[in-house]
């Protein structure tokens, strides 16, 4: 089975997906029109532009494709209980004993193709007794190939040796030996072939791969476990407008479910089903997995008024959105709860009340530009970074954004003698600097000016971090401008 990115442009327009290679972008996948124009995966984009001038190039999202395939694998459990991803673009389904539910193997393939095309995916399907044979027939065999247990060798014989899931070098080697099809490979006496490839791994060993395809060597499918779902329903005898009295019970039931399975939830969704058919949902998140009913209940404190009850609702569902395994640990002997737990609960409560963008922790990065060295990420995410000690002195307050000041008596190299900030005229008494921070060319826009920072002390005693953006005659704009960026203690 083969998955291909579903592109919006028309089918007759050649479109390719590219990834970064060592010498410029390389084609990752091509659509049908591009393949007809002679474009193959692995070629360089510049070469293929010469072949096909009206080629449209998009960048491939390899990680996103992998995640999507993982979801598709779980979605495919509708047909059989054992499914797994096969490489970056395939799926293998163990349909043993489940084809009769869909009326036989041929109609099961029809059903699969229809369903996948409804998702916007084109698929190449094949059924075979072994993983290897199904892989070969799906990619190199006829459309919707079905292979019985006793006809594997007959169906595989005309296919090329690359259908055996071998690496490129081994395929080339076999071609040079004159073994172009699987049938030719089967006819070679086994002993010399085994001896020739005795030290090769599975990827480079045609004998082992052939054995796998023929079913002489077992190749079990390890199917990933889907994350368990926890939810509690509460159908109501008559429509109500306020879910508050039911919430403690719902929380307690859900937490009992979670505790029974050893999980804790990171997200909770409360959904009400209204009598007019609408659905209304509120959600809360926690910074550490939790299954404490009282704590989860308190997170909903101010949220319930955001539910739009309409004319009332007659069913409530509380569902754990994201769950993680938690183990019961005892950290202290005196029975007191530990401090980390208190802290995560504080973060949950504050986030539930003020929103995840308001409750933040600093994340420190490697950068000399001060506003880039620190960024504030949601405290729910719990990314802990250690700050890099700076050799230079830094202020304890930063203004965001820096505030422009009007300067008097500026000398080309040095701080101004006097400046006006917030309608106050401040006279510089002492200064230290400059400390030059150059723009970071790998992420700043071209034309960004350098900064010369000064720690200055004004006559009344306050200490500021002042910078001049740019130099006279640096060719990046007019006269340099001055900004206040922070305050020292």
């Amino acid at each position: 089975m083969k998955e291909r990115a579903n592109d919006a442009p028309p089918d007759d327009m050649p479109v390719v997906l590219a990834t970064e290679g060592p010498h410029g972008p390389v084609i990752h996948a091509a659509n049908r029109a591009a393949r007809i124009a002679g474009i193959a995966a692995g070629a360089r984009v510049v070469d293929m532009r010469a072949v096909c001038p009206d080629l449209r190039v998009e960048y491939a999202d390899v990680a996103g494709d992998r995640v999507a395939l993982g979801r598709l694998v779980l979605w495919a459990r509708r047909w059989c209980p054992w499914t797994a991803a096969d490489g970056a673009d395939g799926m293998v389904l163990d349909t043993t004993g489940s084809d009769h539910l869909l009326g036989g193997e041929a109609s099961m393939l029809d059903e699969m193709e229809t369903r996948l095309s409804q998702l916007g995916l084109s698929a190449k399907l094949a059924i075979a007794p072994t993983w290897g044979a199904a892989w070969a027939l799906a990619r190199y065999g006829p459309v919707r190939a079905i292979c019985g247990a006793d006809e594997i060798s007959a169906q595989l014989a005309p296919l090329p040796v690359s259908a055996l899931r071998l690496s490129g070098e081994t395929v080339l080697l076999l071609r040079r030996l004159g073994l172009k099809t699987i049938g030719a490979l089967t006819d070679v006496p086994r002993l010399p072939l085994t001896r020739r490839f005795a030290r090769s791994g599975l990827q480079d060993n045609p004998v082992l791969r052939l054995d796998q395809a023929m079913g002489r060597l077992g190749e079990p499918i390890s199917s990933a476990e889907a994350a368990p779902r926890f939810q509690v329903h509460r159908p109501l005898p008559e429509p109500i407008a306020d879910p508050t009295p039911y919430l403690p019970d719902l929380c307690r039931d859900l937490c009992a479910q979670l505790a029974g399975a050893g999980f804790g939830c990171r997200r909770l969704h409360l959904t009400v089903y209204r009598t007019d058919g609408e659905i209304s949902t509120v959600g809360v998140a926690t910074s550490a997995p939790s299954r404490d009913a009282d704590h989860l209940l308190r997170l909903f404190d101010d949220k319930l008024e955001r539910i739009d009850p309409g004319f009332g609702f007659d069913q409530i569902t509380l569902e754990a959105g994201t769950v993680e395994k938690i183990d019961i640990v005892q950290t202290r002997l005196d029975g007191e709860a530990d401090e980390d737990l208190h802290l995560t609960r504080l973060v949950d409560r504050l986030t539930a009340r003020f929103g995840s963008r308001s409750v933040t922790r600093p994340v420190w990065r490697e950068s000399h530009v001060p506003e880039r060295a620190e960024s504030w990420s949601s405290a729910l995410a719990d990314v802990r970074t250690l700050p890099r000690p700076t050799p230079k002195e830094r202020p304890i307050r930063l203004l965001h954004p820096p505030e422009e000041v009007r300067v008097f008596y500026a000398v080309p190299e040095g701080p101004p003698a006097q400046f006006v900030w917030r309608r106050q005229t401040l006279r510089v008494a002492r200064y230290a600097g400059p400390e030059r921070i150059a723009p970071e060319w790998w992420q700043d826009r071209p034309g960004t000016r350098l900064r010369d920072y000064f720690k200055i002390e004004v006559q009344s005693g306050q200490r500021f971090w002042l910078y001049r953006e740019g130099l006279h005659g640096d060719g990046r704009g007019g006269d340099p401008r001055w900004f206040v960026h922070g305050m020292f203690a």
């Binding site: 980390d340 208190h342 504080l346 304890i396 965001h400 230290a432 005693g461 203690a489």
Partner: protein
């Protein structure tokens, strides 16, 4: 002289003066655990945000003073914090005697120091156990460079205290040792004369 955990207020004399922050930080330093730092919108716009790589911070940005007080109260209930610092602009109605009393009692029962930084505010009625006013003074001479500012100095005024005699000092901050030295109090005539009156006001 100073209790560890109670509600204290500090009034920077000007908005742009960051000396009061360093003064607060030196007073809460002895504990481990993150500091909850709550700011209202005007404090954030006018005086910037804390830039403290050496400190583990949990920052809450809210708009109204009443939300600052609620977040601080939530924080004071949490055992894992080393301190709770709130910045409130001006004299909002929400910050009345009851609100400060609540903060003070929570802070004392939870044994977590709580500081209110009050910019552009007048010292109205409050239940804060200690009230400070901090003003930056010209800094100490730099050891290497006579033209550069050295370690910061502040005029620190304790104008109301439940535990200590109010007074006024020149504090110099030793950045290498991260320590504040309260050096000679002002000995000018006007101050020395007013000392008795000051004491009475503090007791009342």
């Amino acid at each position: 002289m100073f209790r560890a955990a109670t509600l204290s207020e500090v009034f920077p004399t000007t908005v742009m003066d960051a000396g009061a922050l360093r003064f607060v930080l030196t007073r809460i330093r002895s504990r481990t655990g993150p500091v909850l730092w709550v700011q209202d919108r005007l404090s954030r716009k006018e005086a910037g945000h804390p830039y403290l790589p050496e400190l583990s911070l949990l920052r809450v940005d809210v708009t109204r003073a009443v939300d600052v007080l609620r977040a601080m109260e939530d924080g004071l209930r949490c055992k894992g914090l080393s301190a709770v610092i709130g910045e409130i602009w001006g004299n909002p109605c929400a910050l009345d005697f009851t609100a400060t009393k609540r903060l003070a009692m929570r802070s004392e029962s939870g044994d977590i120091p709580c500081w209110l930084i009050r910019r552009a505010a007048s010292p109205d009625l409050s239940a804060a156990r200690e009230r400070w006013r901090v003003t930056s003074l010209p800094s100490a001479p730099h050891p290497d460079d006579p033209a550069a500012p050295g370690d910061p100095c502040w005029r620190v005024e304790l104008f109301r205290s439940r535990y200590a005699r109010p007074g006024e000092w020149v504090a110099s901050y030793d950045s290498a040792a991260d320590r504040v030295d309260f050096s000679a109090p002002f000995r000018d005539g006007a101050l020395a004369k007013g000392e008795g009156a000051r004491e009475r006001r503090a007791a009342g």
